[in-house]
Amino acid sequence: QEVKIGFLADVTGPIAGFAPGMVDAGNLAITHVNDQGGILDGQNLTSVLADSACDGGSAGPAADRLVNAENVVAIFGGYCSGATIAGANGSAIPGNVVMISPASTAPAVAELEDNDLVFRDVVPDSIQGVKAAELLLAQGVTEVGLTYVNNDYGSGLAGAFEEAFVAGGGTVLANVAHEDGKADYRPEIGQIEASGATTLVIYGYENAGGGAILNQAVEAGSFDLFVGGDGMAGEALLATRDAANLEGMILTQAAPAEGPAFDALAALTEAAGQDVNGTYVTNSYDAVFLLALAIEKSGSADREGISAALREVANAPGETILPGEWEKAKELIAAGTDINYEGASGTVEFDDVGDVAGAINYFVVEGGDVVNKGLIE
């Protein structure tokens, strides 16, 4: 009577700060499915949560419980790349279970020998970094200081940014890694300040080191312009800070972050008391919703065939489905019409290795608000 989706979530450990929001977003998608007629023959879609603790060693047993004990149909997660890879190799791939990660950005995920089972709906770092570099150059910023969180996400993003920025004629005056969870980032900021940079690019997490750096950089008072990646773009960015200090701050995030799909999810999350701008919230919602669509499309709660169905429901062509439109999607699938899910995190078109290519939007803090400036050309 139940169709289970496994949530391989790094709820404890280093990213405990924002993992809960992602779990909630996934559960919101499940609620929507169940509220609008359920999955397949009106069955209940449920989630089974397992904690992978952002560590391959812990992810093994967690993923295995989902695959072998709970017999889930598909897995949403993991978040940290290490957990995703360990879960995939150890249990999901041999168990023939599809996984969609909403947050693992390491290139190694794409390199998995996965029988087309491992997907991710998060834009690889490379694209966002390049786009951000182009945007800054176009705006006439040619010298920046850069700091990134020292993990696959941060170093990938910073690497891509620096390469593109330098290639376009800019100079990265200082490139400084930071570790999450420290109390004090003044030495890091000081290094950047000392290089003479007045623009600070932060590739980190708003609710962890990145946010702390932003605060302390504001206190330092020697930067005119802040730039952040999607890890910094969250509701809390302005909630706990004086927007006047951040006036002009530029944030980049995978498109759309506006438009009908995003607005639809924004409305839904607001209704549920969640924050659509939370780190990877849109990706999480999309991942679970897509899994549900794929199960519906494959016609049975059988692991076989989900992977193929996933591409069919996610990729163009087909009738557009927006977040929350389960009833409509269910009818179309029943009628045999091809559908194409447009996610709040992007159009979500999976390529050969299961990655999405994405367009990047940018935002500017203006007059106490984060204003969406649309696609970076």
Partner: protein, 335 residues
Amino acid sequence: MDELIFFINRVLISGTVLGSIYALGAIGVTLIFGILRFAHFAHGDMMTMGAFVALILASALAAMGIILPLPMGFVVLPAAMVITALLALGIDKGFYAPLRARGAKPVTLLIASIGVTLMIQGLIRLIFGSGTRQLYVGGEPKDIFRFDMEWLGGSRPISITEPQLIMFVVTAIIVVALHLFLTRSRLGKAMRAMADNAALAQVSGINTALVVRVTWVIAGSLACVAGTMLALDVALMPDLAFNIVLPIFAAAIVGGLGHAYGAIVGGFLIAFAETLAVFNWTAVLRPLNAVLPEGMALPANLALVPTEYKLTVAFVILVITLLVRPTGIFKGAST
């Protein structure tokens, strides 16, 4: 001039802030070690706990509409200290005292304190969630004081925030108060006696149970001060102080375990080592560019080590200190 101001901002002030935090934490660690002879690993989480206690109190006051010109987290500090001290006493009674009563080895207590760490972390996250919060309740902004240095020919200001100023004052007061307590008061001397020779202290009729309680009260309230100050300076999160418990221990050890003054020295030593190791000397040496021959300009980043290795520096200092002085600068105790 700008170079000097930069140095003041980036090294003196930053180092002092960090050093104060480390020192406040390390004093607690070192006191507990001196009296109870075990490394209290849960001390970091006690700091976090104290900060959350302050958060609850501050939020409650703010909800009642009481807003003062000082940060609310600071205003409620005395009450928060009392509550945290009580919690510390409870933790001792519940988890450590039974082990001591059964003559457990120090390492067993250390492992028990790891268990306590896990429990505190679990509970904090259960109650408050795992996100980041601000201890500035009621939306008051953090005051930043910028001292204009133009009269000295500097183009940048010396800047310091309100919580940092408060922290300097509070740390200084605590250090002096603790010194007076330990050297002048009867109980303070009893604490020193017990740290020196617990069996003889008992034989002298010193109520050792009382001394243990006083130790926890002091350690707990200091933890609360340190946690709250840290949270005011940065932000409040469940793993706030857990992440700095290693440097705090390093500070206590470098100073010599069981030595309150050693902990203070160790705290500042570690903090300044961290700060200076990743300090970009180019910022100070830039005027040299004028005299250096063409093509020999200073690199943009002239730091001793990359920031990835910042914590490493603290530990390298630690290891070297220990190799030269195996029980810390002040010749500390050892189990």
